[in-house]
Amino acid sequence: TKQQELDRISALPGQPPVKFQQFSGYVTVNDNHGRALFYWLTEATTTPEKKPLVLWLNGGPGCSSVAYGASEEIGPFRINRTGSSLYLNKYPWNTEANLLFLESPAGVGFSYTNTSSNLKDSGDKRTAQDALIFLIRWMSRFPQYKYREFYIAGESYAGHYVPQLAKKIIDYNKSYSRPIINFKGFIVGNAVTDNYYDSIGTVTFWWTHSMISDQTYKSILKYCNFTAENSSKECDEAVNYAMNHEFGDIDQYSIYTPFCM
């Protein structure tokens, strides 16, 4: 399509030469409020027409799939320290699939809304709905991906986004005998799943990995009611003590990695 060609990336500044094709741009997901989501497609390095399409979502909520998924996890490029150039990722996932990175919801990264109140009334439901509309409209722009095997991948708070979008797609597809979104499955990592069980499991990890003392562990179990809407003052004190006085200067996202100053 014409718009597809307008979205074609000839090359990114400081990018090494590559054989795969890339596209990026905006898809409007709500005309009234003027919400538009930004995507970046890095096609497969070989036979892209035969490879599945994989949508990657980071979490937050509010974090960018371009910043994390594309630029330091599964994408074909890595950014160098000064931000002046790109180098190749040794294990990019676009050898196996066409990777579609989506900055979602509006307000994340380059995705925007013309209704500033949208930045304060986002949530799981609208995020899933806008992402479904994105997919449907994106496939109109890239009709070669209609009926292609489609998967979703994500991490962290995308433990919400991914199953919620999956459910929307399943329900949407029910109206069609041959749905254009040929949805096969999803894969999520370190995924936010269940507030109560996740919380219990998290405190258990802190104790079993010797990040907190027995005393703190007992205090958290005593004062924290993980089913409650809001945590008690005693619970906050116990958890804050753990984080501020027992964890030390670690990267909680990778507990044996030096802390980024």
């Binding site: 500044p13 909520p61 509010g62 994390y68 890595r78 990592g189 996740d198």
Partner: protein, 148 residues
């Protein structure tokens, strides 16, 4: 500090032009995570386990993995949550391999595959790119993780 590199790169006008990004002149810098969104997040489900049950029923291929050095959404959190789906076991717990090293452990249930990734933090492909790549290839192929 890798996300600092992205903050530099994606705020460059020449990069935004090449990406056809920021065409409306967004009134704030591009940033990896939006503070305003996370501080004002409205509806958030307490649990997506009920949704998992519906999606398993729909016959989707569902894989859940966990980097075992993350303490924010750690492996014990995910295991504790998934255990409450009470899924029948198809292939009992075993170590999977990446090269001649244990890449993690995995168990295959009816409708869902769980796998840990050894030595990986919250962003698994960042910390263990090769193991993450093997995981992804196995997922796409619908094949259990390598037993040797």
């Amino acid at each position: 500090c890798t996300e600092n590199y992205a903050e530099k790169y994606y705020n460059r006008p020449d990069v935004q032009k090449a990406l056809h990004a920021n065409i409306t002149g967004i009134p704030y810098k591009w940033t990896a995570c939006s503070d305003i969104l996370i501080k004002n997040w409205n509806d958030s489900e307490d649990s997506v386990l009920p949704t998992y049950k519906e999606l398993i029923k729909a016959g989707l291929r569902i894989w859940v993995f966990s980097g075992d050095t993350d303490s924010v959404v750690p492996v014990t959190a995910t295991r504790f949550s998934l255990s409450h789906l009470n899924l029948p076991i198809k292939t009992p717990w075993y170590p999977w391999y990446s090269g001649n090293q244990v890449g993690g452990w995995t168990e295959v249930y009816q409708g869902l595959t769980f796998a840990t990734v050894r030595g990986a933090g919250h962003e698994v492909p960042l910390f263990q790119p090769k193991r993450a790549y093997i995981l992804f290839k196995s997922f796409l192929a619908g094949r259990e993780l390598p037993k040797s």
